[in-house]
């Protein structure tokens, strides 16, 4: 049962050089209590998608449905109500927490904004959340710069959870953390998903992390969706040339791992006033003349496995039309 349904989402920015197509016709759904991983490199639009969902920026087209209701256009009062249901965890815990507020004040703030509970009740809730995310009460009066990255991120997570939302957009939540802390936070997030019945949109560029934590993965390139399927399936059987290149580019911590690297040539095309045709064609080893003319359709290629490529069947030796 999809809790979130996004159709043809668009976001264009006006720049002096023209229209920047940050998000261009992206559609996906997320099922309740599941995690959709949103993967791509910088400039692909994944962070923009996250912010569009939370109405932190205005969209340029498309439809967003949450729990059956259309939330594409909301009044500010409706938006505030949604805040309690949809929250965000940010990448850099150093900059996403006000450096002048203590840990307690940071976690308490959503309660004060929504005027939930008396002072004593709020205190109880804050301590409860600190417990859930695994930080000791002792650091209540500490400031963010006094804590290490892992603790800071837990504070950010507690702040996002204190209103007990249903859906959380996680924007690179572990990218700024050390490997050993990253593992702690990932396990925490999994536990929380179980305990609190959360749905995650997990935005990241780290392929091993997304494979571990997601049920499904959507790969984006220059504002467009290029591939979507079940998480492990993407690594077993990537269909789109970009996904193949991306997977082969990840350095594997294994001396004996075979290195069949697909090195992409050329540079990324500009997302400003993009021409029709596949945006990846310039760097694609399989590109044909059609790829530069016609934009490929994002469609089902296999069961529950979508891709946007003209020659996806030929490249992967699949039967199909």
């Amino acid at each position: 049962m999809p809790i979130l349904h996004v159709e043809h989402l668009k976001k264009y920015f006006d720049t002096p050089k023209g229209k920047l197509h940050a998000v261009d016709d992206v559609s996906f759904s997320i099922n309740k209590k599941q995690t959709l991983g949103l993967v791509g490199e910088s400039g692909c639009g994944k962070s923009t998608v996250g912010r569009l969902l939370l109405h932190l920026i205005e969209h340029s087209g498309g439809k967003i449905t949450y729990n059956g209701s259309d939330i594409t256009k909301v009044t500010s009062a409706q938006r505030r109500k949604l805040c309690a249901e949809m929250q965000m965890i940010f990448q850099d815990p150093m900059s996403s927490i006000d450096p002048r507020m203590t840990v307690f004040q940071t976690i308490e703030e959503p309660l004060r904004i929504f005027k939930r509970g008396s002072r004593a009740e709020r205190e109880k809730m804050v301590y409860e959340l600190m417990d859930i995310v695994g930080i000791t009460k002792r650091i209540c009066d500490s400031y963010p710069h006094e804590l290490d990255g892992g603790r800071r991120q837990r504070v950010g997570i507690a702040r996002a959870l204190i209103l007990y939302p249903r859906l959380i957009v996680c924007d690179e939540p572990v990218s700024a953390l050390d490997v050993s802390i990253q593992a702690q936070i990932l396990d925490l997030m999994q536990d929380l998903q179980e305990q609190m019945e959360l749905t995650y949109l997990f935005i990241t560029h780290d392929l091993s992390v997304v494979r571990y934590i997601s049920h499904h993965i959507l790969v984006m390139y220059l504002g467009q969706a290029v591939e979507y399927c079940e998480s492990r399936e993407l690594f077993r059987n990537p269909l789109h040339p970009y996904t193949k290149a991306l997977l082969s580019a990840v350095p594997v911590p294994d001396i004996d791992a075979p290195r069949n690297r697909v090195i992409l040539k050329g540079e990324i095309v500009s997302p400003i006033n993009p021409k029709p045709g596949c945006r990846f064609a310039v760097r694609c080893g399989y590109a044909q003349e059609k790829c530069f003319r016609e934009t490929p359709m994002y469609r089902d290629v296999l069961a529950n496995h979508k891709a946007a490529c003209h020659y996806v069947n030929e490249i992967n030796h699949l039967k199909g039309e």
Partner: protein, 291 residues
Amino acid sequence: MMKTEGGGNKARKHRFGDAIFQFTRNRLAVFCLLVLGAIIFCALFADLIAPFGIDEQQISEALQAPSRSHWFGTDNYGRDIFSRVLHGGRVSLLVAIAATLLSTVFGVLFGSVAGYYEGRIGNLIMRIMDIFMAIPSLLMAIVLAASFGAGLNNTILAIAISSIPSFTRVVRAPILAVKQNEYMEASRAIGARTPRLILRHILPNILAIVIVQSTLGVANAIISVASLSFLGLGVQPPTPEWGTMLSAGRAYITKCYWMVTFPGLAIVLSVICLNVLGDALRDALDPRLKM
């Protein structure tokens, strides 16, 4: 750069405590703080400290060089200059601080609005401020004082108005920077609305800059008061004020240097101390210099 990993139990609790520590290591700044403290103390308790009244004329003692009974000498009316400098300090400092307070409040107000609402409102405010800044502030103070008339309150008003534009400008820049910080976006994500964002998140983060600017503002205001009074536009006699004393002593400058020197020294000393203080505060509160 050192990163404090680990529980952080050894780190200090309060950021301001940290700033105070940094400040106390600057010996010049501490010295200036003490000197300034002494000046303020004398100004406050002028009544008790001053050996003579401000208008106690003893013509027989007129134009006496500094001596044991009159530490700073006497003026042309036989008034004790030391007592007048003490009382004058009260007026100068009062006007300077009051004017700076006013310009801080309004400067922060206009700067916040201009900085937060960047579009047309912001532009309008900044262009108005630009117009005012095109006029040298002292000249503006003179014009305002001349039109309002002389007197203490009008002087305060004139100086305050002439300082608001630079304050606005100084406040707006860090607000533009702070606005970009991710925690602003995070606060919007948890539902905070504009008033809360400005009051709770932006202003505390520009506090340091405002403090520094105010400190330097008081120094400038002292000079402005003295200048206005020197020109006869500010405080009126018999109220003693460092500027008026300078003006009065002009005629006697070659023979009786003490009439001009001591009020002049008082101005110089206060302004230097405030400037050093302002710089030291800026260094102490600058987070980038923190280890």
